[in-house]
Subunit: 575 residues, 2 copies
């Protein structure tokens, strides 16, 4: 089912229901680009550590837009012995919803756009009819804006107009504004005396003037009038005052609040779907899904944290149970019988012996995908076949049981070993990112780190190491690369012979790691020192207790135990 | 006429002809965004100097894509006393043309995209069928790539595989590759002996191996065989060898070169249109065209230079004669009779007394635009009505002559005062950027520069200056603004009274400018010192004369007298 801005609200309950009843969910995202760095190969060095890979993706991939989100829900029908699936293909676009809303800038990578264009991707649907979204901080800010507007209408004054030195009190009316305000009060006195008119439109004025008017009227006329701001065709804002009794005033107030709540919901938009997925606690399947997970969190929850360990924490809240079909297919017992783990090839392979094609039907009222006429790189389709792959592989595990089982559910112990491990693209010796604990630390005693002039090519490295037999080169950047030798014993020989070289430098992998850690420590110390210095200066000049608080806030940017509480009631049960 | 990738080549000669015969040209661009800075208002401070404005636009507007370019050519028909116009609406997209071509990343601003979406803009046409382009440096590099490939095929060896220490000589075949190469030579010997087969396909191999094969074959078999690289369906590259006599070999070589030239032309794509405009030396009209000019140069010529003065030099080469209709309409004798200079309003106003609607018809075979059903923000339409505005205003100038003239041509002395002055948006006291010389330097002795805590709003500034009557606030950023007082005499009073203030700081505009210059001088000195230091170190370690050359190249990035020579023959005559 295609979900765009115009049919989103009408279909949201269908989406919620599908998630709620599902045994597992499959997701996929399409992005406006992959890497804003020099090249994708520079992004994926064969000897990246998981931390390094995370940092690179965070730095070079997060400015792109996730503009299509595929969600496919799978529910097992025990009587019919088949899965019933519901597939949703969401188009996403951060359409600004009002004048003060975030004006998101996102990057497009020509090659990615061209690739999607060749697949028939409909960009008009994204840009004209994409569903908006807000992350948690933006949602909080918008909620505050509404609260503020309301308290302003109630005469409580608004924070944003108050200078930091003032306490929370109404604005003093500046000399040059007094006349205008007095004149408006006169106008209103006249209007209240006169029984003919039910409402009075004031001239359009500035936001500051509106603030002064609201403030003045709320203490001059706490009852008997209703004040609201409207916008003219010319986008000018003006105040309308109407006579109301207390009951009518309350009714209007409630109406307005309901409307505001709806506007807020509209603005949160697609994020509500992601919240529902998170709240469900259901198993979420993806294929090579690290980027999908990172983008989903970055776009709909919060900017990605600085460290991998914090990212793991956030992920465990948003997606408590993940399974990556590319990692599953690259692991025993599948590894030896599956040659190509790209999604399209995997889906084909898993229909053949020793696997069996899964029995899946679309639910009533949901369109079905035909795997014979591939619609690859439509997010909804990719999510669908990712689900198919998972079912085939899970069922295959059942054949090892005695007696063998044809159906292995998403809750089976058999698939638990694959939970929360995300495939790491093109890393030679670390198969996955472990979301549930520390990552694997392979021995890299056959690896050298080489620095050289930027004119060097791979062939220069082959020449340099021609005495050492087969080597493998993994470029880091223009002037450095990892070179792995076939024998660890050769490592020291290479380092020794290079000692007097002028144009290049060779060190062992261990030396390289040590130096990097040292640099990090030095940098952290530097930041800490400059922080202390800054804090010393600020305390000296301002002496406010606010500052130390703000630091605390900064460090604990993810109070994970509480941040997801508002919509978290059903989550604990799901884990 | 709509011009997209698929009909670009077929229509290029029409475009050339239209430019060649025109009396003047009108242009307009649509971009994927305006400002990646905090807000557009921060981009356009009322007291920006032209240099500051240029720097801001360069920093905050150039990462967007100019993805629609409107060109409308106007030719006067003296017998019929009317203009004949040809309008072109080009869709532009940097589609990568091969694996080593630049993979352009560009930014989209949601509000701009949403705005265009509401105007019915067709994003699919841009991304699926936009015309590619190259700037001059990219064109040069691509040309070099072809030359290199050719010389590689001819066995001269290729620079890119040679380390900086080596002279231009063939690569030494590494030990581990020798066997493979020897085997291939054997294969070829066999193939040459055997009279049955006309061609031999080698196994797919790496780029480095292909290089070794080309090199080996070119000295082993300088005659009698033709070697070329093809790509399989699986995108694997493999070498095909065929038996040819000398004549056939030359014919194939020429065919290949012609094909390469065509590929190069295709890649240069839309830039060829911009080159033709530049070469024509014709008067180019735009409405509020500073951003259009900057984007056009940035995207199709070269990254924008660091200084405004250099930008003026480059612009004078690309667009020797420009005229901005917004500036024209804001200048006497138009200023007093034109209230609204926005393009749509201006076009309407200029149909009415004392102006006369211009007589313009589309050329045969060209669709006509109807100004009654506005198609605003389609670049071709905007260029068209910009041209209409120019004609009306130019003709109006003729009414001041005695005897009055109904038609004033684009070559008339009457319009020369408006040449090469670009409208400056929202600058209070400098109407235009002067491309032909130094800019106006208005007295700003009634202006103050104020620094304050980031929580301050405009109302805080009004309060602070409440004793000084009417003020105007121009925000610079979160913590500073220009405040202009109505009386220059008040400036010193304000500075004096603020001397002991803690939360804010006030200085005169002159003091602000002086401090800024000082900082710039200090920064430049710093850069120069670190440069000297770097050069000293590099000379010490490498001792190569190459370095001082590279510095020279860097400073003279725009050898303007020569850079446009290749397609410059007709240009001088046009000036």
């Amino acid at each position: 089912m295609e979900v765009i801005r115009s049919n989103f609200k009408d279909n949201l309950s269908k989406v919620y229901e599908a998630i709620e009843e599902a045994d597992f969910l499959a997701i996929d995202g399409e992005f406006s680009g992959i890497s804003d760095g020099p090249s994708v190969s520079a992004l994926t060095n064969g000897f990246d550590t998981p931390e390094e890979r995370y940092q690179k993706l965070k730095k070079h991939s997060m400015d792109f837009l996730l503009f299509q989100f595929g969600l496919c829900t799978f529910k097992y029908d025990h009587t019919e012995e088949k899965y019933i699936m519901k597939s949703f293909n969401f188009y996403i676009f951060p359409k600004p919803f009002n004048r003060s809303s975030p004006d998101v800038k996102f990057v497009c990578q020509s090659s990615s756009i061209d690739f999607l264009a060749n697949q028939g991707f409909d960009f008009n649907k994204v840009f004209r009819n994409g569903i908006p979204y807000l992350n948690q901080e933006e949602e909080r800010q918008l909620r505050e804006q509404y609260d503020e507007k309301r308290s302003q209408a109630n005469g409580a004054g608004s924070l944003s107009y108050i200078s930091p030195n003032a306490t929370k009190c109404p604005v003093v009316i500046p000399e040059d504004q007094k006349k205008i305000i007095d004149k408006i009060v006169e106008q209103i006195e006249e209007f209240l005396k006169n029984e003919e008119n039910e409402s009075l439109e004031l001239e359009p004025c500035t936001g500051f003037q509106r603030k002064l008017i609201y403030q003045t009227l709320s203490w001059k006329y706490p009852k008997g009038i209703h004040v609201e701001t409207l916008e003219s065709d010319k986008k000018e804002r003006y105040i309308v005052i109407s006579k109301v009794d207390e009951e009518e005033r309350k009714r209007r107030e409630q109406q307005k609040q309901a409307k505001e709540q709806e506007e807020l919901n509209d603005a949160v938009g697609f994020s509500r779907v992601v919240h529902a997925i998170a709240n469900s606690g259901k198993l979420v399947i993806g294929h090579n899904m690290l980027l999908d997970v990172m983008h989903t969190i970055h776009q709909f929850y919060c900017p990605l944290p600085d460290d991998l360990s914090e990212f793991k924490e956030v992920t465990s809240c948003v997606f408590p149970r993940l399974l990556d079909t590319k990692l599953m297919a690259s692991t025993q017992p599948f590894k030896d019988i599956i040659n190509n783990t790209s999604l399209a090839e995997l889906e084909k392979r898993l229909k053949e012996v020793p696997f069996s094609p899964p029995k899946v039907e679309s639910a009533e009222g949901f369109p079905s995908y035909d795997t014979a006429s591939e619609q690859l790189h439509e997010a909804g389709y990719d999510a669908y076949i990712t689900g198919l792959c998972f079912i085939s592989m899970a069922n295959f595990l059942g054949s090892f049981l005695s007696p063998p089982k044809n159906h292995v559910s998403a809750r089976s112990k058999l698939i638990e070993p694959f939970f929360n491990k995300l495939f790491l693209m093109r890393v030679m010796d670390i198969p996955y990112l472990n979301l549930q604990g520390p990552d694997l630390q392979p021995k890299r005693d056959h690896v050298l780190h080489v620095t050289f002039p930027k004119e060097w090519k791979t062939s220069d490295l082959y020449q340099l190491f021609s005495a050492f037999g087969n080597i493998q080169v993994s470029w880091i950047d223009d002037t450095s690369a990892f070179v792995s030798l076939s024998q660890p014993e050769q490592v020291q020989i290479a380092v020794n012979t290079s000692r007097y070289a002028e144009s290049y430098r060779i060190q062992t992998y261990a030396e390289y790691v040590e130096k990097k850690h040292e640099e990090k420590r030095a940098k952290r110390k530097c930041t800490e020192d400059s922080w202390k210095e800054m804090e010393r200066k600020r305390l000296k000049t301002q002496g406010s207790p606010y500052i130390s608080q703000s630091r605390y806030y900064c460090i604990n940017r993810f109070p994970l135990s509480t941040i997801f509480l508002p919509w978290n009631s059903s989550w604990q049960a799901g884990v």
